[in-house]
Symmetry: C2
Subunit: 226 residues, 2 copies
DNA sequence: CTTTGGTTTATGTGCAGACATAATAGCGTT
DNA sequence: AACGCTATTATGTCTGCACATAAACCAAAG
């Protein structure tokens, strides 16, 4: 019995054994379906998965070819911070450092693509079993926030947002930086330590929602399987 | 005409509008298919995509529910370094710093899960328009390498491997660290600078292939859309 | 020679029906 | 009450067919 996963495995092994070298045009779905004795839809499913993972490149009419420079596609899980802390077996806690209206700095305005005037600025220290885990520096567009606003000292902005504000698109980026004075102080680490920084920007269909910067405590690793 | 993307959009909007709150069990595929006037397969496709992106959780018999704590899933592309450099409009170059058999340090042995004895140790400096871009520190399992080995001063181990060695599984992780003496020297940056580090470990079906550590020059960002 | 437009063709997606599988819920037994 | 078996049920997948669509190719027109 040949399922789509079997087809995928067989195709993969042909690629890896160089029966179908990099860049080759492989047989069409119809031909493969006949060869494997399955329906074309099954072959389609298998090839689509392989294309999604970057092993194949497919174009209508042009056919399917083995990717010349395979680009591995890894999927990262971006959990809510509380879940991340609890997944490590630690007790989650948070401390609200700041929550006020303010004018965002220029880089933030630039990333949001427009000047929204005053925004809600929230800084939160997330704790794992009492130790600083990550500092969250967030700017929120007040115009799109549903009411009532919660007590951000009790529920993190991070978590409240995913539950109460729909988002349409966004981007995320990761970098290494030297810890700033304030972040280092909040995390209790030497100023200038190498820290892992996540920056995220999310948008509702028509307006920006939030820009957030997470400064992780030293030792943080982001990992996934390939 | 309702395609699976329309169904996906409609389901998403119901979730975001709280018509189906977080954690809710949503109607079965059959019911939705009837409501939308499409085949069950079409609903299945839409719901499967949403589950893949972390918005829904599906279990046989248990039904489909809106994820209680939405875990965003972001897909990152892991290109070959040369492609990454060229995508930035820079000219790619490489310099082989070391290529010799040696005993890997304990942490590497640990990550590979076994002591393989002597391994091939390759250090490469990748250049973008003449400037240091990333230092690659790689340990290769000599037992699984196909012959002949190329001239690693002409083609990077990175690139040669994806083209010549099949891989079955692997993991990847990212962290921020202070630059070591040797890495800082190779990249021409102050020792102790915050650098973005990628560590990857790949396996053939039955034996380890390689462990690699990439130290990126300051300013490197890894980004993707959500 | 270049451009335009139709034809061909491989993939993308749809439908209806069927069986497979996993996991729950309920039943009965000990 | 605890355990294990079975029936139920929602999702997962396959088949075979159909039509839609994008893109390459080729031929005709300018």
């Amino acid at each position: 019995m040949a399922g789509w996963e079997d087809i995928r495995a067989e195709v993969l092994s042909r690629i890896r054994s160089k029966a179908w070298p990099l860049g080759t045009l492989i047989p069409g779905e119809e031909a493969l379906a006949q060869e494997f004795g399955v329906a074309r839809a099954t072959v389609n499913r298998a090839l689509s998965e392989l294309a999604r993972s970057g092993v194949l490149e497919r174009k209508r009419k042009a056919g399917t070819r083995v990717a010349a420079l395979p680009v591995r596609k890894a999927t990262l899980d971006i959990p809510v911070i509380r879940a991340e802390v609890e997944a490590r077996g630690a007790v989650y806690g948070l401390r609200l450092l700041r929550c006020e209206m303010d004018a965002p700095p220029l880089p933030v305005q630039a990333r949001l693509g427009q000047d929204l005037g005053q925004m809600l600025h929230i800084e939160t220290l997330h704790l794992a079993s009492g130790r600083g885990f990550v500092v969250e520096d967030r700017w929120l567009n007040p115009a799109i926030l549903p009411n009532p606003l919660p007590d951000f000292a009790a529920i993190s902005a991070n978590e409240w947002l995913v539950a109460h504000v729909s988002f349409a698109s966004g981007d995320i980026s990761f970098a290494a930086e030297a810890a700033s004075n304030s972040a280092a102080a909040a995390l209790g680490i030497p100023q200038g330590s190498a820290v892992f920084v996540t920056e995220r920007c999310t948008w509702a269909p028509d307006a920006p929602i939030t820009w957030v910067r997470l400064v992780h405590a030293p030792g943080y690793r982001l990992s996934t399987v390939l």
